[in-house]
Symmetry: C2
Subunit: 179 residues, 2 copies
């Protein structure tokens, strides 16, 4: 009940991800060529304060042509667990430690052409640390009320899929008193 890989060719090896072409035999007997991104995976987090505010970022994303609203996130380093990555990125990107981490879930942002899996957490019990951005990261930290962030989704001001997904997963748990 699935596809079988008949062959695989690497088309490009990049700094963050690779592009491969796989020859796949589907269960209906058809063979197809698929261009697939091989990605190391990522971690993202909803940093939630006791005042029910979020620490969000407004980050420059050249691929989509401007600054967008996001929750903090980053690509897994080799030999790093998703939680270790999340803890590192929370300090690096926004300058906070978190006392409590809840796993909210895992998302596949583009299952049609990438194996990327983003591990999503909620980070609570925040305390200040020293932010240190990578030289290619252009971003600004903003504290936003949780309910205001939901309105930003509804008004179309937040387009980033991991951010919308993370806020939804956090809201579902908060509404049921699970966090």
């Amino acid at each position: 009940m699935s596809g079988k890989t008949l062959g695989c060719e690497t088309l490009h090896k990049g700094r963050v991800f690779s592009l491969v072409r796989e020859r796949v035999a589907l269960e209906n007997g058809i063979a197809i060529d698929l261009d697939i991104i091989r990605h190391p995976g990522a971690a993202a987090m909803v940093p939630l304060t006791e005042k029910r505010t979020l620490m969000m970022i407004r980050q420059y994303r050249h691929a989509v042509g401007g600054f967008i609203w996001e929750i903090p996130a980053g690509t897994l380093d080799s030999a790093e667990t998703p939680l270790e990555c999340a803890k590192r990125e929370l300090v690096e990107e926004i300058g906070y430690w978190a006392r409590t981490w809840h796993k909210l879930g895992e998302i596949t942002p583009v299952p049609g052409y990438s194996d990327e899996r983003i591990h999503v957490f909620c980070a609570m019990g925040l305390s200040p640390a020293v932010q240190h951005l990578d030289k290619d990261e252009i971003l600004h930290v903003h504290e936003i009320r949780f309910e205001e962030a939901l309105k930003m989704v509804e008004r179309g001001e937040i387009s980033d899929a991991k951010t919308i997904s993370g806020l939804f997963m956090a809201k579902l748990r908060l509404d049921r008193g699970f966090m």
Copy 2:
């Protein structure tokens, strides 16, 4: 207040998307090379019945290694508007017409390395049509209660980011009586 493209090289031209390498001057004076997917964009829809059920699909996605839950979606054909694409895909993938279409928003699934933009709609007033899948589409249609789909998100059974985002955008509007 943004980055400037200094040069662009096409690394790969595929059937669905291309991969380019852009040389970018950031506003902090740093120049970087970014590998970016150029994608024609897509449309996705939350097909909602009068019984408050959803028509969802369980689709084989080789890139992530199995069948996953999704809302219907597809890549824009050239010269097709997002709404035309959504209407076409609703018929092709699940065999339904919709009388009423609401635009829910637009999402960028991977703004770090792809310009893909998914236009998300809610399709209501459904009536049966003739499903006709592409030969490389392996999927099954399921009718799911809206509240059950939210539980599937919470339990981690739905990982697809456009699906989680679309359900959230629909829920926010339904909760406020806007649809």
